[in-house]
Symmetry: C2
Amino acid sequence: MPRAKITRGDCEALDRSDRLSAFRDRFALPENLIYLDGNSLGAMPKAAPARIAEVVEQEWGNGLVRSWNIHGWAGLQQRIGEKIGRLIGARPGETLVADSTSVNLFKMLSVALQVRPDRRIILSESSNFPTDLYIAEGMAHLLGKHHQLRALASDAIEGAIDEHVAVVMLTHVNYRTGRMWDMARITERAHAHGAIMLWDLAHSAGAVKLALHEADVDLAVGCGYKYLNGGPGAPAFLFIAERLHALVSPALSGWFGHADPFAFEPGYRPAPGIARAAVGTPPIISLAALEVGVDLMLEASQDEMRRKSVALSSLFIDLADQLLGAFGFTLVSPREAAQRGSQVCLSHPSAWPTMQALIAHGVIGDFRAPDILRFGFTPLYLRYVDVWDAVMMLSAIMESREWTHAKYQVKAAVT
Amino acid sequence: MPRAKITRGDCEALDRSDRLSAFRDRFALPENLIYLDGNSLGAMPKAAPARIAEVVEQEWGNGLVRSWNIHGWAGLQQRIGEKIGRLIGARPGETLVADSTSVNLFKMLSVALQVRPDRRIILSESSNFPTDLYIAEGMAHLLGKHHQLRALASDAIEGAIDEHVAVVMLTHVNYRTGRMWDMARITERAHAHGAIMLWDLAHSAGAVKLALHEADVDLAVGCGYKYLNGGPGAPAFLFIAERLHALVSPALSGWFGHADPFAFEPGYRPAPGIARAAVGTPPIISLAALEVGVDLMLEASQDEMRRKSVALSSLFIDLADQLLGAFGFTLVSPREAAQRGSQVCLSHPSAWPTMQALIAHGVIGDFRAPDILRFGFTPLYLRYVDVWDAVMMLSAIMESREWTHAKYQVKAAVT
């Protein structure tokens, strides 16, 4: 390619002029580790342990049950939801933290089917993140033979949206390829045929610029433990456009979504607004950790984050072109930055042992079956030199054929 | 009544001979506080902060995504589930920690309806904890006009179990009265009519002796943050009798319940056994806190706990008879210990301000609408003198009419 050779010095220069560089020190990062897996589990904000200890020792230990009122536990799902709403371009009152992404998907599918009671098809892509498909399958199975999940190849989705489709359910940034859908265009297409649009933002929130209200999105779900740095298994979030609130009542109608939970009425009356999408008592300690991550994210400029995210992933691709050409990798992610989330995926016939060797040398990405090496780029705590060093390490492992060692062939439970 | 007058000295003597007394020091209890609300939120085990800090700082901060394998996060729901299984008389492999009690109720209802596809009635009592009714209502509504929640008065339940009932859903110990169902008898009655039996153990697990396997129970759910001392909003648990495992696949079919979640297969295949009831990624930090509470509970003899629980609540009733007779309280809980969980409820026309005055004086119970003062008795951290002091304080507040002060009339969001 005609591009001049990139040097480590170039990367150092980029780091010196990086306007987000001060954020790196806000995260606890193990020494000698290059962490390219913030898209699986975000790094820990340094402020998290103290805040969590406060919730545990003061609010739980001393405040006990009084903390539901005194320390605002009762409003935590909405308070953090509002903050996430600002990160995804929602209007106030449209976002709630609750449950897991999977459970929220089920709730949002129930909402969509409630709004479109005469339609029976849930349309999705077969390369969607599996839990999305499993949940839709479970919903269709529960409702009986009339409802159906139709999972198609990505390029067949747009053509398949018609008057029979109740809801189009897509993941905005694909977990395996990093390819990003044009949210506004697909949403418009769904609406043109009267379908409800449900976006899974697991790999988008905190990673790419989102404008849910502007794109006229109906429903969304997303993840707290990836780019939002909310801690392992952090509670997830959901979004319901305000215009739908009065029409719907999620199928999981638990007491935390009741209009007056402590009146202990025998019949369900949904709370006004987004609060109706809450179900049971939320895990307060994990919620508190999530809030620390979200607060930190809100301190940074989202435009700046996206700019750096693109610069990091583009640098990775350029360096892969420059240094890995001889080793049989294929770029799976779009080369065009506008179509790419905050990750780059390479396929390789020996992806599993290669990733294990990389991890053994302190470069953490992850493997996605069957043959993908996935690298996530988190602009708040990654440096350009990290990208350089990671690609150099990968190149060295391929050059030395270290990945062929027996110890790297062993499979793990969680990949 | 013919009973001799009880003195504080008698209570001190009971404390001296209490074989569980050493456990009190294992909990962090604020000074000058008598905590009779462990049935709403259990007290904090002193071991919790250090364990939580370890999970946060070491496992998340340093281990990062590697901790799913290295620190066993992937198996945490089953590991803690097994431990709770020992507390509820389940066999190995029948109990899982997951989601909230409300979400688990929905899953267990879906299981029951799957096992009894030709039956359409969910039978419950109208005085059940509201979220149980709301969830059943949501399920019936989702499934359409053929399914129905039938909520009856407690004394009409047994007679209403017939061949149309798919599932009998009851809370073992009533949240408002403390009345305890005869689990074995009702389960047998349900089975005699071919109905599935689903017990909510929110106010039972860790509080009364349970023998789910012996009673031939089909399904159960329960709470981690009450008597299990798992922390605010701790994840809940569920139980599915082994004989049903192969027959069912919960409607919330998420990737954590898949046979091979990291194979990323497009179609759902339920995991073998109880693991199929998992849904999304669980909140690891809150799970770790729950395990500390469960571990502590497992150190104590359950027979000893039940014996002391009954002694504490009986003492409360005796002292109420002795000291509160003039103030218009009515005992709502059964006087017969065998029919009572680990709580005592009194009704009073001024229950709300009376409880607020009690709390202001360091005796924490709770109010349950419309007119109930609820007192929970946790045998691991309560002393007999605490019961004495609590009733004395209540008597003093009534005597002085302090509860009439304006400041105690203000309602709180969470009661």
